[in-house]
Amino acid sequence: MKDVSKRDRTARERARQIVAAQKRAQERRKRLLMAAGAVGLVLVVFVVLIVVKVSGGGPSKTAAPAVSDSASVAAVVQRVTTVPPDVLDKIGAGKVDQLPKVITGQPRLAVNGKPLVLYFGAEYCPFCAAQRWPMVIALSRFGTFTGLKVTHSAADDSYPNTPTLSFHGATYTSDYLVFQGVETTTNLRQGNGYEPLDQPTADQQALVAKYDAPPYVDSESAGTIPFVDFANKAVQSGSSYGPPTLAGMTPQQVADALSDPTDSVAQAIDGTANAITALLCQITGNQPGNVCSGAAVKAYAGKFNGVSPN
């Protein structure tokens, strides 16, 4: 009798253990299913976001009004291309974050015997917008621009609507230099990028591929714009000062500020122009003399050692 009751107890205990184990396994399955459901839900949300985006969702494209009034454009261009030399002399080194980097051992870049300066950028890019002002000021001391346009960086990019000029369609003549400006896109959206504009030549593409890359520029800047090749004597990837300097300004306000040596905008733009001028003087063999002997250029004496005209 005792044996029977002991066997019953053991059987009941085993049955309880089996039921408990089944219950645990069931709970574990339930927890795993819940985990899989949660992870699946997360993935579904991402898929929905991506599908909606790819099928055309996104911010509406807006663009700030471009300066199209020909009198205003002419006034801005006039002020930028004729910044008084005494203002540039007073500015001296100004306030510049990044200078062109001297490179050595490369064949001199020239067209018809004149050193070539290649600018490679895009109208959407706010850093290109910042860099064009000093480029125009400096180059205008060695030659003459025609056809410069007044515009702004993209309205939907970082530092939106940074006021600027554009090299697209502009021509430059000089006794000392050749300048080529390539603007690869406009500032207007097209698909995931911006509307294409200038098609670089094979030679220009080869120069950018070679020199907008290490060891000529640091790896962080490789392939970025604006990129400027100063006759293969120096290169610059990126702007010399930040676009926030020009935040909220109209092209007219920027142009007006350039003639005030105390203005922070002039310190950045004119200071950069003086640096570029000093570099170009090294490349042209200090021609023209009246530009290359000025205090503006002397402020950068020694910064571009090793750069020679040949």
């Binding site: 795993l32 997360v42 991402f46 895009a122 010399s240």
Partner: protein, 155 residues
């Protein structure tokens, strides 16, 4: 005085290793983005393509929440996450630890939803470093969700 000895939770061997590795990776990337934010060492240049554009993302209005840089919030998220993914805490069966870790991971995913939405539909650009943090956060959530299911103590 009565003391109850509880058995430690049986944790799959891969769980602490994988979760900790993801959390540490997230902490490192978030740390990098935070340093970049405060040292302003971003390159003064644009990428040649418009879609992948870290500067546009990190200088957008959405790069801060209540005035706090998102990069810092990422760091604030991953520091406790690294601690919560330590092997010792995976073996800890206290509900506060288990649900706290799972809740934190879930909170991270919800925030990633917002950030991805902002990148795709408001900023219209993607930052690859930010995307790396997003992927790590979601992967961490998946590992913690399955890990919590596997490592839950029997009732």
């Amino acid at each position: 005085m009565v003391s109850v000895r509880t058995k430690p939770v049986a944790v799959p061997a891969w769980l602490p290793i994988v979760s900790l590795a993801l959390a540490v990776a997230g902490l490192l990337v978030a740390g990098y983005l935070t340093i970049e934010h405060f040292t302003a060492s971003t390159t003064l240049a644009c990428p040649e393509t418009g879609v992948v554009n870290c500067t546009k993302v990190t200088t957008s209005e959405q790069s801060k929440v209540l005035g706090i840089p998102v990069a810092v919030l990422g760091l604030v998220f991953f520091v406790p996450m690294v601690i919560a993914c330590l092997p010792r805490l995976w073996r800890d069966q206290r509900p506060a630890v288990r649900y706290g870790r799972l809740g934190l991971a879930g909170l991270g995913v919800v925030f990633v939803f917002y950030l991805v939405y902002a990148e795709l539909f408001v900023i219209d650009a993607i930052c690859l470093w930010c995307t790396a943090v997003h992927v790590l956060t979601v992967a961490l959530f998946a590992v913690i969700a399955f890990g919590s299911a596997l490592a839950s103590p029997p009732r």
